[in-house]
Amino acid sequence: MLAARDLGKSFGGLTALHNVSFDVVKGQIKAVIGPNGAGKTTLFNLIAGTLRPSAGTITLDGKTISGLSASAIGASGIARTFQQPQVFRSLSVAENVMLGGHRFNKAGFIACGLGLSFTRREEEDLHATASKWLDFVGLAEFSSRTASELSLGQQRYVEIARAMATGAKVILMDEPAAGLDDTETRQLGDLVRQIRATGVTVLIIDHHMDFIMSIADSILVLNFGEWLAEGTPEEIVGSETVINAYLGSVEDA
């Protein structure tokens, strides 16, 4: 459903991504791995429209999305979480998630300013959706807390709930397990599988190989901005090139 062809991105003289092509199958969890600075986050930024590609195209369900604005891409069904959790720190947890579903409602400046009654109905519906997703990630009891009071780990879950609330078809997760211990990482794995179960396609970056191995249906490996390998977890972990470039000795994996 999501397909990239010959993607490239350079910053000034530096090529962060070069000639990368891949496909993501609907309903799959696809992992993107690679050494630091390989271009993984850059790839996500290109898909989400935060950056414009210097070359190549990205299509979602056959429609070209590269070149669209970030908000248009967001509206077309791609949501993301960030490498450093980006919640709206001064907003409540519920409000954070409500912003995910924001785009489905219609009330504009005038209607809101006048406090028309339909705006209130919309709000209630949106709130119900938000509560559903907070429940889904297990943060229901925190819903009226200010987001900044949550630990970094919890903020990651807020991001996930918010992404789900956008009704996205594809979710991009950038190192969601960073800073989690093994127990927490396993719980996160369960959640990602549940997301897949709702029919959402997941693209995930992480350096925790156990975690990636246990959830990914398919893995894309980048190295120095180039496509290095792609395949099932078993194929990847057995690949000599991947071990050399990324994993180092098997023992550390």
Binding site: F11, T50, L51, A70, F82, Q84, Q86
Partner: protein, 300 residues
Amino acid sequence: MITDLAQILITTLTVGSMYALVAVGVSLIYSATGVINFAQGEFVMISGMTVAGLYGQLGWPLAPAIGVALVAVLLYGALLMVLTTGLARRTSLIGVLIITIGASIATSGTAARIWDSDTHRFAPFSGDAPFWVFGATVTPQALWIIGVSTVCVAGLIWFMRSTMVGKAMRACSLDKSAATMVGIPVQATVMVSFLLSGLLGGVGGIVTTPLTTVDAYSGMLLAIKGFSAAMLGGMGSIVGALLGALLIAFIETVTVTFGSSALKELPTFTAIILVLLLLPRGIVGGRQEAGLQHEDLTKQ
């Protein structure tokens, strides 16, 4: 035509140097603290008024008058530093800006009471007699202004680029606690920036007053020019402030030469908007790839 060009060049350099002394001071304090110092023009006013009073009116010799003026601006710089970064810890950038506005208002009011609200001036250092270069008028004082500010700004650029203290200043404004963590005494560093910035303004007052005159209220207008220039150049960059000041002076001079003096601000401020649209972070700040950083002035 050659006369016009020569005159444009001379005037741009003279006026640009005056603006630069303020703009660079604004940028310097900003680069160390993130504070926009609205009272930057007061340094110029204080030193101009002091020298005009002691040297121009009371007939002191020039050197001690300059000495007193520089001491005065240093003290004022220290006072501003205490007000904006010492006492005002928990406020937002806007809060600090308001404090500097308050300081500027109170300072001009006080100056009007200590001296008066008349216009003052003192004799140029090397006389008034102009000379001509390609038909363009050059006054000796203009050369003083250009020379002194070149020396000051060049020295400062070197200081910021090549010394640890210069780098430490920027570090303080970017992340105070990270700065302390690597061993930077933040308060002292910030103090250095205020004192240097005060000196720049003070020197500015001393060299420009014979040409521009000074009164108790002249600080605020200068400050607005100063940060327009600093921002046009790219906030926090000394080179940027210099370029911004020269560009503004150039646009003004060209407008006055070929258009109307009353409208000289029109092209200037239109140019500021246009330049920023092309280079959203000023001339040297350049374009920015969409990032997540966002500086919110009202946030604490």
